[in-house]
């Protein structure tokens, strides 16, 4: 089972694969991981939410990453262009469609 895709994307049923090992060192590196993250239910103190690198990178393309975070600070030169600190512009106003679209702008929102 590959570690790609969220659990919801996996709909086809299949048998649970069985693998027997003689030595702990032969454990596969992805042992006890689940697609789209790993819940180690036996961690002392309870479960912990892990995400592996490839899954985190995959989430980068989710439509949900296209909405601005609700609590973003306005910092000129970091989250808003330099010199805009005197204007009382909200983040939402910053996001107004701004024609003409720049073909190089790979983060142009699809709205």
């Amino acid at each position: 089972m590959s570690a790609t895709g969220s659990p919801q994307q996996r709909v086809a049923g299949r048998e649970i694969p069985v693998r027997r090992i003689a030595d702990l060192s032969h454990l596969p590196s992805d042992y006890s991981t689940t697609p789209g993250g790993s819940i180690f239910s036996t961690t002392p103190g309870g479960s912990r939410i892990y995400y592996d690198r490839s899954f985190l990178l995959q989430c980068r393309n989710s439509p949900l990453t296209k909405s601005p975070p609700p609590n973003m600070a306005k910092i000129p030169g970091v989250t808003v262009p330099e010199g805009s600190e005197t204007k009382e512009k909200s983040v939402v106003e910053e996001k107004k469609p701004n024609p003409p679209a720049d073909p190089d702008d790979q983060f142009q929102m699809e709205i």
């Binding site: 919801q8 949900l64 975070p69 330099e82 983040v91 996001k95 469609p97 702008d105 983060f107």
Partner: protein, 236 residues
């Protein structure tokens, strides 16, 4: 893009002045209604994280130069934060330098820490801790720095340190003309076994060659150092 979406876009442009943030987010989600609902779940993180920005302005107090950019507790909000920076920046070509750490001015820092921990030695959760330090040379700002920083962020939010994740407080990247530095901060410099295992994991995840050695310095040593660098308590 089908015609319905085009109309939708025109509506949105007309109304965009009145749209609240919440409504705007709903619009985006409506557009995706035909998609597989699977990816439209925000994936919760184990911890809430805060991204900080520091800009060296000697006319102000150190703490006045430190700004909280954003805190988040889902994978998607982490990426939205990164993407929004890029988007706002790209709108005005002048500012396409701010998103990447490698394009910050000398004297600036980014920090990502668990919510409630300030990115400074003095914080109660940091004062007994220290940092694994990667010192970059000038060439590496262009070739390695952004990758190292992104990999470090992914280690933090994905809890890559397994049962030692509670020992990790955050990370800081310092952009300096004399040499950039990336530090992974742990909570207790006396926990040698935890510190060593975290160092090995960091080295492995950032794919740092075995021949390059990384040093760990306690914040208390750095604060009282005599020379330019504090002594290494540990090495990997």
């Amino acid at each position: 893009m089908d015609s319905e979406e085009v109309n939708h876009k025109e509506d949105l442009e007309k109304n965009s002045d009145e749209l609240s943030q919440e409504e705007l987010e709903e619009e985006v989600e409506d557009d995706e209604a035909d998609m597989d609902p699977g990816p439209l779940i925000k994936h919760p993180l184990q911890n809430r994280w805060a991204l900080w920005f520091f800009k060296n302005d000697k006319s102000k107090e150190w703490t006045a130069n430190l700004k909280l950019v954003h805190s988040f507790d889902t994978v998607e909000d982490f990426w939205a934060n990164q993407a929004l920076q890029l988007k706002l920046v790209n709108r005005k070509k002048l500012y396409n330098h701010v998103q990447k750490a490698s394009k910050l001015q000398s004297g600036c820092d980014y920090s990502l820490f668990k919510d409630g921990i300030q990115p400074m030695w003095e914080d109660e959760k940091n004062k007994d801790g220290g940092r694994w330090l990667i010192s970059l040379n000038k060439n590496q700002r262009a070739t390695e720095l952004d990758n190292f920083w992104l990999e470090t962020l992914l280690c933090l939010i994905g809890e890559a340190f397994d049962d030692l994740s509670d020992d990790v407080n955050g990370a800081t990247i310092n952009i300096r003309n004399k040499g950039d530095k990336l530090g992974l901060w742990t909570r207790d410099a006396r926990r040698s076994d935890a510190v060593m295992r975290i160092g090995h994991r960091m080295k492995e995840r950032l794919k740092i060659p075995a021949k390059i050695s990384l040093g760990f310095q306690a914040h208390s040593d750095t604060a009282t150092k005599q020379g330019s660098t504090a002594r290494d308590r540990f090495k990997v």
